[in-house]
């Protein structure tokens, strides 16, 4: 199908984008467009104005700063996938990226767009939760920073308010003793996961985070399983996952199947977290 008519404005700068959004509550931000455009084409969404932020070069960088790795919101999936800095300082994200859709989609899709959309079955929101990342947001009111733990609120619902725009995604850079694990199950490569798991085991301070995706309305920490795995008891951790998660069944897998698969993934990911 073709989208309903809309107006289009190309933002020249972040301030210009904020000004365009400020005057138009029905506007949508057009970043990579790899989820927005399908929604428009299927007429699931009909905004009055698209504010295209693709030419704001200040939002495209991937940089290391103060022990953190910063992704400009417009950094493309493919840039991050082929970035040495990401491989070195954010190995969890490097592991997750090849699972996102397909090469032509990753050439356009953006890190900020994936976070802002907050699809419950998407890889990057779960990675950000596992890594204890944070999201910097700009609006007419100024700048604010929201922790990943407080950002994902519900089904496609985030801490973002109308008129706000994500500028930067920040994560603590990986240290040599840190371990990361990632696994997902999908019918075909590139499909949204039936169930997925992103995990980070940090050494200093010692923190273990397990973030599941595809099993609820947001990415979900499996806290009882985290505690069991901290004790080194993988069987107890797998048993605990069943109480941590309350997935809904769908056409692809029943709730019981998803719960079972979550345990299967935990064993695979726990093996990746063990020191070599």
């Amino acid at each position: 199908m073709k989208p309903a008519p809309f107006a289009y404005a190309k933002a020249r700068s972040l301030d210009h984008a904020i000004a365009l959004l400020d005057g138009a509550p029905e506007a949508r931000i057009l970043a990579g467009g790899q989820s927005l455009m399908p929604a428009l084409n299927m007429r699931l969404s009909a905004p009055s104005l698209l504010v295209d932020i693709n030419r704001i070069s200040e939002l495209s960088q991937i940089t290391q700063r103060n022990g953190q790795l910063e992704f400009g919101a417009l950094a493309r999936h493919a840039e991050a996938e082929h970035s040495r800095l990401v491989a070195q300082l954010a190995p969890l994200i490097a592991k997750a990226l090849p699972h996102i859709a397909h090469p032509a989609i990753r050439n356009r899709g953006t890190i900020g767009g994936s976070i802002a959309l907050a699809d419950p079955a998407a890889e990057l929101p779960a990675c950000l939760l596992a890594l204890g990342g944070e999201i910097e947001i700009a609006s007419r009111a100024g700048r604010r920073t929201v922790a990943a733990d407080a950002f994902f609120k519900g089904l496609f619902e985030t801490a973002l308010s109308p008129g706000e725009i994500i500028t930067t995604i920040r994560i603590p850079a990986a240290q040599p003793q840190d371990r990361f694990g990632f696994a997902e199950l999908a019918r075909r490569h590139g499909d949204y996961a039936l169930v997925g798991l992103a995990a980070a085991a940090r050494a200093k301070p010692r923190v273990l985070r397990l973030a599941y995706f595809g099993v609820g309305t947001t990415p979900i920490r499996a806290r009882a399983a985290e505690a069991a795995l901290e004790r080194g008891d993988i069987d107890a951790a797998v048993a605990a996952v069943a109480s941590d998660l309350d997935p809904n069944g769908d056409v692809h897998a029943s709730a019981a199947a998803k719960r079972h698969l979550a345990g299967v993934l935990l064993r695979r990911v726990a093996a990746q977290l063990s020191p070599p």
């Binding site: 809309f6 289009y8 790899q34 455009m37 399908p38 693709n54 090469p103």
Partner: protein
């Protein structure tokens, strides 16, 4: 609110100017305004890969990019990339290996395979890497084996040639 917008871009090396509706996607623009019908329209939501074109050197979904977004950019379609001879060996291999039946997916398959071969920079990708890279391009005649065979042939021939 949806006033037409002037754009100026490069398509297959030629400058193009047009006045378009903001909602027109790139592949519709190429097919309808420029009669470049080699890029096909399948699903219109980014799943099938039939509309694959190159924008500023990388492959994209032509159905998920608005034509207005291409103002100032360089677009290449199967027509242009055929004319330059860049993928002549790949096209010959698709014929030799019977890697197309109805041909609807073929332009997208060729552009997607060429991106992998170019990126591999003289090294030959494995069948698994070829499959992963082509995973976003559907062939409803189920010719995947032959397509992977063709891409693999070209990969090894180019590797030999690069030595």
């Amino acid at each position: 609110m949806s006033d037409r917008i002037d754009i100026a871009l490069t398509v297959n090396g030629e400058p193009v100017r047009a006045e378009i509706e903001p909602r027109q996607n790139l592949v519709d623009f190429l097919r309808e305004a420029l009669q470049l019908t080699g890029s096909h329209i399948g699903c219109e939501h980014g799943v099938c890969g039939a509309c694959t074109v190159r924008v500023d050197g990388v492959i994209v979904r032509g159905c998920l990019l608005l034509a207005v977004q291409c103002d100032g950019l360089s677009v290449e379609t199967i027509e242009g990339i055929s004319d330059t001879g860049e993928i002549a060996d790949l096209q010959a291999a698709f014929c030799a290996r019977n890697a197309l039946q109805c041909g609807f997916c073929t332009p997208g398959m060729l552009l997607t395979a060429q991106e992998l071969l170019r990126r591999s920079n003289g090294g030959a990708p494995s069948r698994e890497e070829i499959r992963a890279h082509l995973s976003g391009n559907y062939c409803r005649c189920t010719g995947y084996q032959a397509i992977v065979d063709a891409v693999e042939d070209v990969a090894s021939n180019r590797k030999r040639g690069a030595r």
